[in-house]
């Protein structure tokens, strides 16, 4: 008759005191399995005796502070409110830019005087030998008019640098009420210019 010994996981269960009664009964009668279990228990005990050295009591708060720093670097989870506020802010800036662009485009249709522009734009040697007189170009006049009240640094600080299509995207983001209000403002602006 062939004697069946316990499988590794059964031996482990016995060593850890989690085996079924039938398995334990086998160990009682089998010298080889009993020796295996005894050796397992000895090694397990040796492993369990090894402690992790207790760090300084101050270490735990230090670890929490380090985690807090690490989490801060990882940009803590902002609530949806923060994102909504961000979009609202971006929408407001976009709307302001849009209004400014519309207003200035109307101003471009007005008769322009050459003299103030010549004073505002520094005279430089023309790089192109074009016959078109630069100072009489209405589009340059418009650009100078646009740029004069707004310093570059101020524009950067206000976040007015936009990518292509940004205004279109902002308008698409507007609510029905905001679009209605925009339409009202534009209509009022156009009526004022047409007077």
């Amino acid at each position: 008759m062939t004697m069946r010994h316990l499988r590794p996981e059964q031996l482990l269960d016995v060593a850890e005191g989690a085996a079924d009664a039938s398995v334990v009964a086998h160990v009682d009668t089998c010298v080889r399995c009993r020796r295996e279990v005894s050796e397992l228990k000895t090694t397990l005990a040796a492993v369990c005796e090894v402690d992790v050295p207790e760090p300084s009591p101050l270490f735990w708060d230090h670890l929490s502070a380090r985690v807090r720093d690490g989490v801060g670097v990882a940009a803590p989870g902002r609530g949806w409110g923060a994102y909504w506020f961000g979009w609202q802010w971006a929408g407001a800036v976009g709307l302001a830019v849009l209004l400014m662009a519309v207003a200035t485009s109307w101003r471009a249709d007005e008769p322009v005087s050459v003299t103030p522009v010549a004073a505002a734009v520094p005279v430089v040697e023309p790089l192109l030998t074009d016959d078109v007189p630069v100072v009489e170009d209405a589009s340059l006049d418009l650009l100078a008019d646009l740029a004069s009240p707004l310093e570059w640094d101020a524009a950067v600080a206000a976040g007015l640098l936009m990518s292509a299509g940004a205004v279109d995207r902002v308008v698409l983001e507007l609510t029905a009420f905001e679009r209605e209000e925009l339409g009202r403002l534009l209509t009022a602006e156009m009526a004022e210019k047409s007077l």
């Binding site: 492993v47 050295p53 670890l63």
Partner: protein, 214 residues
């Protein structure tokens, strides 16, 4: 028709009222009471972005996470770094934690991955015996303490020589006292495979210790 209805029911998501109750609990509890929140409420508080909620998570689990990391690297500095890394990764991934396991088990899983990644790029540091902190408790003689330290050092060195999988299950089973089921969950393995790995880890450890002790 009735049969198809009975098939779809198990797929039905959680009813909204459960979420509402949880949110109410989180929102109405004062910040000073964060430490008294249940695990699920604390996780919800973290999801809500409540200040200090994740601090409480760290406070509750930092000792276990540190000890886990220490078992892998055998020195305080690396264990400290790995513990921090574990919690930062946990914070980043907390939005994906759905409560399918306990928060502790989930953190262990992250910790094990962090430690295994570290071990794959760096040899574990063997702690010199003279640098080890004083573990005497006043009832031990100097010679007894020395013997115990020496023995612990040998066992640690032997554990460090085990294959990664065996070492991992041994650390989780013996040091962290996790059940085979929990270890299987952490490692994405079966209970049978975990038991087999623990068994072979102990067998190998026995051989290594026998060699070292001559």
């Amino acid at each position: 028709m009735a049969a198809s209805t009975s098939w779809t029911l198990p797929q039905t998501p959680r009813p909204d009222w459960q979420l509402t109750v949880l949110r109410d609990t989180v929102i109405t509890a004062p910040d000073s009471a964060l430490g008294e929140l249940s695990e699920s409420a604390l996780v919800a508080a973290c999801h809500e972005g409540r200040a200090g909620a994740f601090d409480v998570v760290v406070e509750r689990h930092r000792r276990q996470v540190y000890q886990l990391c220490y078992r892998f690297v055998n020195n305080h500095e690396d264990a400290s770094d790995l513990s921090q890394d574990t919690f930062v990764r946990a914070y980043r991934g907390l939005k994906n934690f759905k409560g399918q396991s306990s928060l502790g088990t989930w953190l262990y899983r992250i910790g094990v991955n962090v430690c295994l990644n570290r071990m794959s790029v760096k040899e574990p540091f063997k702690e010199p015996i003279e640098d080890r902190p004083d573990l005497a408790d006043g009832r031990e003689s100097a010679s007894e303490r020395l013997l115990r330290d020496e023995r612990a050092l040998q066992v640690r060195a032997a554990i460090a020589r085990l294959p990664t999988k065996q070492r991992t299950v041994l650390v989780l089973r013996m040091d962290q006292e996790l059940s085979h089921q929990e270890i299987a969950q952490i490692l994405g393995s079966s209970v049978g495979a975990v038991k087999a790995n623990v068994f072979h880890a102990i067998q190998n450890l026995k051989k290594i210790l026998a060699e070292e002790l001559g």
